[in-house]
Symmetry: C2
Subunit: 196 residues, 2 copies
């Protein structure tokens, strides 16, 4: 990334693309092993194919305090059983760092929780922001049956990512489809703070 000011265009041709970026991260179904509720359906799906669940286009300079990393995340529509496609989700490695989202397209939810087990699920809808305060782990869920969810993100350059904690303990809440609508349910495999 340049250390001079620069402009990036969001191109809307067959989905949203950035005119430039530093990293393109592609996460397939196989990279979310152990995260979905129905492990049998997950394994059966994976034997048939390994679809892309989401992609991140990141604009990134030095990973230091004062810098801002920004970009877009695109979560494709789909489900594993009744559970919607979602990101792995993470805590920031530097826990006391926030993140701001602006939703560009689609419909979804942000599933969040603190190390103490407090939780929140907030909607993602076009032309709205979502503020994730410091200390809240966050996972993005696409609840549309057919449309990509596209969100613009900004977070501090020194935030870093802690994926391991969530991989181990899971999220307290999951978002599944019930009667054609998103519903928040308890994750029975979630490890509460006292059992970690």
């Amino acid at each position: 990334m340049s250390n001079r000011p620069f402009v990036i265009d969001f191109l809307h041709a067959g989905g949203i693309h950035l005119s430039q970026y530093d990293h393109h991260i592609v996460r397939k179904l196989s990279s979310l092993r152990g995260q979905f509720l129905d492990q049998e359906i997950y394994e059966a799906m994976l034997r048939a194919q390994d679809p892309i669940l989401y992609e991140v286009y990141e604009v990134k300079g030095a990973e230091v305090a004062g810098e801002l990393i920004h970009g877009i995340t695109i979560i494709h529509p789909g489900k594993v059983g009744t559970e919607y496609f979602m990101t792995k989700g993470h805590y920031h490695l530097l826990l006391d760092t926030a993140e701001v989202y602006y939703c560009l397209q689609g419909q979804g939810s942000m599933v969040m929780e603190t190390p103490e087990g407090d939780w929140a699920v907030e909607p993602l809808r076009p032309q709205s922001t979502l503020y994730v305060p410091p200390r809240w782990a966050h996972r993005t869920v696409n609840t549309s049956p057919s449309e990509d969810l596209v969100i613009f993100f900004v977070y501090p350059g020194n935030a870093g990512h802690d994926y391991g904690t969530i991989e181990k303990q899971g999220y307290r809440k999951l978002v599944v489809e019930r009667d054609g609508k998103p519903e928040i349910i308890d994750n029975l495999r979630w490890l509460p703070p006292e059992k970690r």
Copy 2:
């Protein structure tokens, strides 16, 4: 501002409004004394009226490292002589902090410079981001003859604002209308680093 996650909607009814915010800053012509090129026209305009040049709606928690302040700036269309309406502009008080913009509506320019006198002017147009690296002062200019310029911003909670430096030394470059189009010109009253 809450320390739990929250959503803000960008309402598009007669201009863009936020469904919630912590501060509403209103800057009138009178607050930009000494910043416009043509001081005579400025004073004559001010004797007739004191119009609102721009407004900021800010969502703001603790002003500490790791937090992110976000919101929108609305610069109204207009000119002082040939010079377009603009923001005061500032350095961040903590100089080594960046800012990220996403343009929601309108047409404009961001006028930027470093303490060493390096300068840049980048366009603001809908569906594009502008990255302002650490150390760059920034001023927003609305170059549309009739439309509000509306930009979404995110910057570090501990950045702070230094308006005084720019008030004293001015910006190296100005944006004026020539033959109905924006043109970048030198500011003859700018104080270069060696004269400060």
